[in-house]
């Protein structure tokens, strides 16, 4: 899938997984019991799998994942998803262990390696748990039933009198009569697609699903054994450093590489303005690249980090109506109180601590690439097309990823490493971007403007809502407030941004949630109503209410706070999950400094597979989210990015985080699972901005909520 397609999905509400290509893996498989299945072949309706009509024809099923009960009784699951810290390696293993009745430890996840696993569109959009889990469970159940049938033959006991337990099929009446999966599987090769009626376990029968499990890879990661892309070493490998222009869109006027070339061991690779320094020592490559004298012409500036919002409104003029109801004019006319405001959010970097890296080698017409990638199959396709190498000759090896957050979908570094490796046939090439390159070639979260007009009667009943989004998409913007006359529009344009932009954890949703939930608070304050009461009064979505009430209870909303402290709420929807964040902040009125004291996350996310993993994701959302809320802002002058390192782009530090983060989850085990990696982050901006207002009366309309902006709002 191409980046533009991913972005189209990513900035809107994804309700079913994107389609897949058929890959024929059957002949490659070894023995055992193999269940193949496809994420696109089924839809999940009311928690039950239903086969899509178009998939009915043909006897060999389309599939893009499979699991295999091996002849030693252990289970391999092959999936195109990748693990980047979000913990799906653990949660997918839990699902399999539970439904297949095998020990958690006997599950082996094989993920993301293009030569081993079937096609997958990529790991993004909180889709793994929503769309992957139900199918993996069904496949596990199918395998369990196959094992029962085999056991029935061997033990001469009817299937109805057998049960699966602990890697064995056991006679219900006489537990001494049993046979292990290993014994049942030896010498067999059975390939099956998913059946029509798969008896899944009911939530009350879960043994592993819903129980807290710690991450499976922790020991490797605390001992330094876990290998990331730039930790790969291949004999004869050269380290590459690319000579970069000072700004995007620059033209090379001249370059003199003679001094670099004269340094010992240096090789220069050049194709027009693509100048690469290669060396067997990474530091020597860096030093030599610094010696390349290059002069560039940079494009004329059109906007900077201050003027960008006017530029956006001028250039993002391709407008679409996304949600609409009632009559806006009528709603506005009828409203006794009307408030219109504009909310701004600057560009944000993904700023994973691991920079983009790729290790590539081209040998015998085959290109092998280790790349920290959220989209191994997309990258394979892009490289295959760009360099005319047959798809089957491009192998993307999967390896630990040092943070993704949407930033490792686009894989420019893999294309660059491939370009060099193909020309240097036989020589392995490693390219690891430095932090400056990371801040330049990141696909930033776009700057955004949201104009909001809202109206209500004197009792606080909302009646008019005009929500105009510029450059933040419509993901999570379907209203959960009952507002009879409403409209949501999204405006964008092809030439708005000075540099690349893309998906950043819950794309667009932090910007739009900041606007909506700040504005809801402003409406409440106009009639001196408590912001919790105001939301309860206007909300019409039960799952949103669940999240709000859970959070309010844990937070103890009505508790008296010390002088200088304030509390704030934000509610949002992302990837099928309804989420509320409440925070308590302390504001220093003389400096404008904001300190978050505590945070509570209330979440209705349907069935929870791994509560431990869920809570950790919510904590991560709070802490990462405080960065964009309080301090992160990419500084730039049009195509020149001025933020170059962590000194001028401040992400969350230890002193930023609240003392406690509490996560409370709605009990909804009988509902389909929803996204967990992204939701809570969307609420951080508004929750904090609303708490700052509560603490000191300063209303900040632009993120980040910096001390300067707090002081300006107080003045």
């Amino acid at each position: 899938m191409k980046p533009e397609e991913i972005n189209r999905y990513y900035f809107s509400d994804v309700n079913s997984p994107p389609g897949v290509n058929r890959r024929d893996f059957l002949k490659k498989l070894g023995g055992g019991i193999i269940i193949v299945f496809s994420f696109s072949a089924y839809t999940v309706v009311n928690g039950c799998l239903q086969k899509k009509e178009e998939e009915e024809a043909g006897d060999v099923p389309e599939f893009n994942a499979y699991l295999r009960v091996k002849e030693d009784g252990t289970v391999d699951c092959y999936s195109g998803k990748i693990e980047m810290g979000q913990g799906i390696n653990t949660s997918l293993s839990q699902i399999l262990a539970d439904e297949l009745e095998v020990p958690f430890e006997s599950i082996n996840m094989i993920m993301g390696e293009t030569s081993l696993v079937p096609y997958d569109a990529g790991t993004w959009g909180s889709m793994t748990t929503r769309f992957h889990d139900p199918l993996i469970r069904a496949a596990a159940a199918e395998a369990r039933e196959v094992l029962k049938e085999l056991a029935s033959e061997k033990l001469q006991i009817p299937v109805s009198e057998l049960k699966a337990q602990d890697g064995k099929i056991i006679s219900i009446n006489n537990p001494k009569k049993n046979i292990s999966y290993a014994k049942l599987t030896i010498g067999k090769k059975i390939v099956k697609g998913l059946g029509e009626k798969i008896p899944l376990k009911k939530p009350g029968e879960f043994k592993v699903i819903g129980k807290p499990f710690f991450r499976r890879d922790a020991v490797e990661k605390v001992t330094g054994v876990a290998k990331y892309t730039a930790d790969v070493k291949i004999d004869g490998m050269l380290y590459a450093r690319i000579v970069r222009p000072p700004a995007h869109g620059s033209t090379l006027i001249f370059a003199d590489t003679s001094e670099a070339e004269s340094m010992e061991g240096v090789e220069i690779f050049r194709e027009e303005d693509f100048i690469v320094v290669l060396h067997s020592d990474p530091e020597a490559a860096m030093l030599a690249a610094d010696k390349v004298k290059a002069e560039w012409k940079i494009p004329d500036a059109k906007a900077d980090d201050e003027t960008i919002f006017e530029h956006i409104k001028r250039t993002a003029v391709d407008t679409n109506v996304r949600y609409k109801g009632g009559d806006l004019k009528k709603g506005k006319k009828e409203s006794a109180i009307i408030v219109e405001e504009e909310y701004h959010d600057g560009y944000k970097a993904h700023a994973s601590i691991e920079t983009h890296a790729a290790t590539a080698v081209y040998n015998n017409e085959k290109l092998t690439i280790y790349a920290s990638s959220q989209t191994p199959f997309g990258t394979r396709q892009a490289i295959s097309e760009r360099y005319s190498i047959p798809l089957e000759n491009v192998l993307i090896k999967q390896i630990y990823i040092g943070g993704g957050f949407g930033g490792k979908i686009y894989d420019q570094q893999a294309r660059e490493a491939a370009r060099i490796a193909i020309k240097k046939e036989g020589t392995p090439i490693q390219l690891m971007w430095n932090r400056q390159e990371e801040f330049m070639y990141d696909m930033f979260r776009p700057a955004a403007v949201v104009k909001v007009g809202a109206g209500m009667d004197k009792t606080g009943k909302l009646n008019y809502w005009n929500f105009e989004i510029f450059c933040a998409g419509d993901r999570g913007t379907e209203l959960f407030y009952d507002i009879p006359n409403h409209q949501t529009t999204v405006s964008d344009g092809p030439e708005v941004h000075p540099f690349g932009t893309g998906a950043w954890r819950a794309p667009g949703n932090p910007s739009t949630t900041f606007a909506r939930e700040s504005h809801i608070d402003i409406m409440a304050s106009k009639i001196n109503m408590d912001p919790l009461e105001f939301r309860l009064k206007n909300m019409n979505n039960q799952r949103a209410l669940n999240s709000l009430q859970l959070a309010a209870k844990s937070f103890d909303w009505n508790k008296e706070l010390p002088e200088g402290h304030g509390k704030g709420i934000a509610v949002g929807e992302d990837a099928g999950t309804l989420v509320t964040v409440m925070v308590e902040v302390k504001v220093d009125k003389s400096s404008g400094q904001v300190q978050v004291i505590r945070a509570v996350v209330g979440q209705d996310m349907g069935q929870v597979i791994n509560p431990q993993g869920t809570i950790i994701q919510a904590e991560g959302c709070v802490n990462m989210g405080l960065g964009y809320t309080l301090s992160e802002d990419v500084e730039f002058n049009w195509k020149t990015v001025k933020s170059k390192n962590f000194d001028d782009y401040q992400i969350t530090h230890f002193s930023t985080v609240p003392e406690t983060i509490e996560t409370v989850l709605a009990d909804a085990m009988d509902q389909p699972p929803q996204g967990g990696g992204e939701p809570a982050i969307i609420c951080m901006g508004a929750a904090v901005a609303n708490a700052v207002f509560d603490a000191c009366g300063a209303r900040v309309f632009r993120m980040p909520v910096t001390p300067e902006r707090v002081l300006a709002a107080l003045a």
Binding site: E220, G224, D231, K233, N623, D647
Partner: protein, 158 residues
């Protein structure tokens, strides 16, 4: 100019022929294949490259080989004793104090350095001692708790 530089690395005497101006981070990763020490920013802002030199937490990206000569360097690979994890490593596992794991070696080495200097740190001491180690996944609270647990275990064992 290359010259012989001797130092102790994870408990063993080693020597390399290198220029004194070469940087410890890249030497560890390239010549000793100790890739647990990570590059994050190259300018000492993120702490992913933290190692111990003479028991003190140091940014290896800002340390020249000339400064390392004759000293003792410990990297994440040298912290556990065989299969027995160091109390800080163990506490990170027990508190699930990591996600992507990329900043983790630097976090752990910095925490060990902190505990070497201050065996009984308050929560506030930990926050300020860890302030310039960056984690993007947001595991901060768990890291603070893990360091407190490890301090307790180290002190209890004495």
């Amino acid at each position: 100019m290359k010259e012989k530089i001797e130092f102790e690395l994870n408990g063993k005497k080693v020597n390399v022929e290198l220029d004194k101006s070469q940087t410890l981070l890249w030497v560890l990763r390239t010549y000793f294949n100790l890739t647990g020490t990570k590059y994050g920013c190259g300018e000492g802002y993120c702490g992913a490259c933290t190692v111990l030199i003479n028991n003190e937490a140091v940014r290896s990206c800002a340390t020249k080989m000339g400064e390392v000569a004759g000293k003792s360097v410990v990297t994440i690979e040298g912290l556990a004793k065989g299969d027995v994890l160091h109390p800080v490593q163990k506490a990170f596992v027990e508190h699930d104090a990591l996600q992507c794991g990329y900043c983790t070696p630097g976090m752990i080495m910095n925490a060990v350095g902190l505990l070497n200097q201050n065996p009984n740190p308050s929560r506030e001491d930990i926050i300020w001692g860890m302030e310039d180690n960056l984690c993007r996944c947001g595991a901060h609270n768990r890291i603070i708790d893990a360091i407190q647990t490890a301090a307790g275990e180290i002190n209890g064992g004495k």
